[in-house]
């Protein structure tokens, strides 16, 4: 199943290290600003809307 990983910018080095470890250097994931854990419901929904274009781009979906 096609999937897109989402991660906050604080975890980019760790995410890239895991991608290299699994043999996928350059693996693309959608990025959003830290923090995430302290966002409320409305802020989370806003983040999701902001991320959608990048998620669709990584999925390769035609716009």
């Amino acid at each position: 199943m096609p999937a897109v990983s989402i991660c906050t910018d604080s975890f980019v080095p760790a995410a890239e290290a895991m991608a290299r470890l699994y043999g996928f250097p350059g693996y693309q994931f959608a990025l959003m600003p830290h923090p995430l854990a302290s966002l409320d419901d409305a802020q989370l929904r806003a983040r999701a809307r902001e991320l959608l274009p990048d998620i669709l781009r990584i999925l390769g979906t035609e716009s």
Binding site: F11, A17, M18, L21
Partner: protein, 394 residues
């Protein structure tokens, strides 16, 4: 990406006399006569290890195949036996890799059976194999050593027990960290995402001062013989000291312990857990008042709690239905904690059972200063006590 150690070791370092007038040279302690080593070459070797990032930041001991063989001779295990695997990283540590890193950490070969028991205990402890060493929580393994091996290798269980100054303590704990870095690739800022970490990530290995404890030592309490040596590993957040030089009333000290365990900043899950490291003076105070270890455990369990108002004030009065971590009751993911359905929903216990508290004795017999070690997770299950198997001991 930083390299990990898995291949060949460098060939034996030179040990012949040096005539380089520009370099500082020295003989090993206790020897006189011609100079045997070239200090500049030694520094070059140390810098080589540092340049490969095979380090926790401090210099490491160069390891040769012949030196490695001395470590491997202390165990009946095969060099290729796996001591701990991390499937999510597709990496595993073998006896050989554990020995290389123990030697690099400064262990003597005689310490290696303790290091191997530590790895077996960490497997049983379960958190490391599930990725806790990469977590933002920034935990570190605490190794507790019991039994006759303490005296054989000079492992400190008395004064400055959490501090520096003892090779066995310093290097056995460090052997685990160097392996985490060099074998599992857990470099900070990369696969180790610890937000702040803890000084214990350099090393944390302590002995129990069994001879000054009025109670059975940890390994005997959990089924081994006093003649056995054992290692018990626990994933910890930190060590919090308790000042209690002023009292001879056991309830005073026991309430100081419970207050420390129940501090709101430590609360993540439904409940917490702790290792209480009593100094001999404090252990005697409980014992002389007729308290057993289980009495102390029960008292701590009965008293370690927060009011719901205290937790609400810090936004920890409910549980996330996704992560089971504490959060405010008005959070979209919030569900009631277990205490909410108890007979007294306003009282939120800090521990799930008396068994979530382990007790041991260590530290100098010179003051009433004990410690609560904040162990990670809710626990309540028996600790992971593993017998030390030394190929050279009967």
């Amino acid at each position: 990406m930083a390299a990990t150690i898995g291949g060949d070791l460098p060939s034996a370092t030179r040990a012949e006399s040096a005539s380089d007038a520009g370099s500082a040279t020295a003989s090993p302690p206790g020897q006189t006569g011609p100079l045997l080593v070239d200090m500049a070459e030694i520094r070059a070797v140390l810098e080589y290890y540092a340049s490969r990032q095979w380090t926790d930041g401090l210099p490491v001991v160069p390891v040769t195949e012949s030196y490695l063989a001395e470590f491997l001779a202390t165990t009946g295990k095969s060099p290729d036996d796996v001591v701990l695997a991390m499937p999510h990283l597709n990496r595993e540590c073998t006896v050989r890799l554990a020995a290389i890193n123990a030697a690099m950490a400064g262990c003597l070969p005689a310490y290696f059976p303790v290091v191997l028991a530590a790895w077996a205990s960490l497997v049983g402890e379960r958190y490391p194999t599930r990725g806790i060493w990469q977590s933002t929580t920034g935990t570190a393994p605490l190794l507790i050593v019991n039994g006759p091996v303490r005296a054989r290798i000079g492992l400190n269980c008395a004064g400055n027990v959490f501090g520096s100054g003892f090779r066995a303590n310093a290097t056995i704990g460090r052997a685990i960290r160097l392996t985490a870095i060099n074998v599992f690739g857990l470099h900070p800022h990369l696969l180790d995402q610890a937000t702040q970490g803890t000084p214990a990530k350099y090393t944390l290995c302590i002995g129990e001062w069994e001879e000054r404890s009025p109670w059975a030592p940890l390994h005997v309490e959990h089924g081994l013989s006093a003649a056995d040596s054992a290692v018990t590993a626990m994933v910890i957040r930190n060590v919090v000291h308790i000042e209690a030089r002023h009292t001879t009333v056991p309830e005073h000290l026991a309430l100081d312990i419970t207050g420390t365990i129940a501090r709101t900043g430590a609360r993540i899950h439904q409940t917490s857990s702790a290792l209480v490291v009593l100094v001999p003076e404090h252990a005697r105070m409980f014992h002389d008042a007729g308290w057993s270890k289980d009495d102390l455990r029960q008292f701590v369990f009965d008293h370690a709690a927060n009011t719901r108002a205290e937790l609400a004030a810090v936004g920890k009065d409910a549980i996330s239905r996704h992560t089971y971590w504490r959060l405010p009751a008005d959070h979209p993911d919030a569900m009631p904690d277990e205490a909410s359905t108890s007979a007294d929903p306003e009282r939120v216990p800090a521990l799930n059972s008396p068994a979530a508290v382990q007790i041991m004795v260590a530290g100098a017999d010179n003051a009433g200063v004990s410690a609560v070690v904040e162990t990670f997770g809710e626990r309540g299950n028996p600790p992971s006590v593993v017998k030390v198997e030394d190929a050279n001991e009967p």
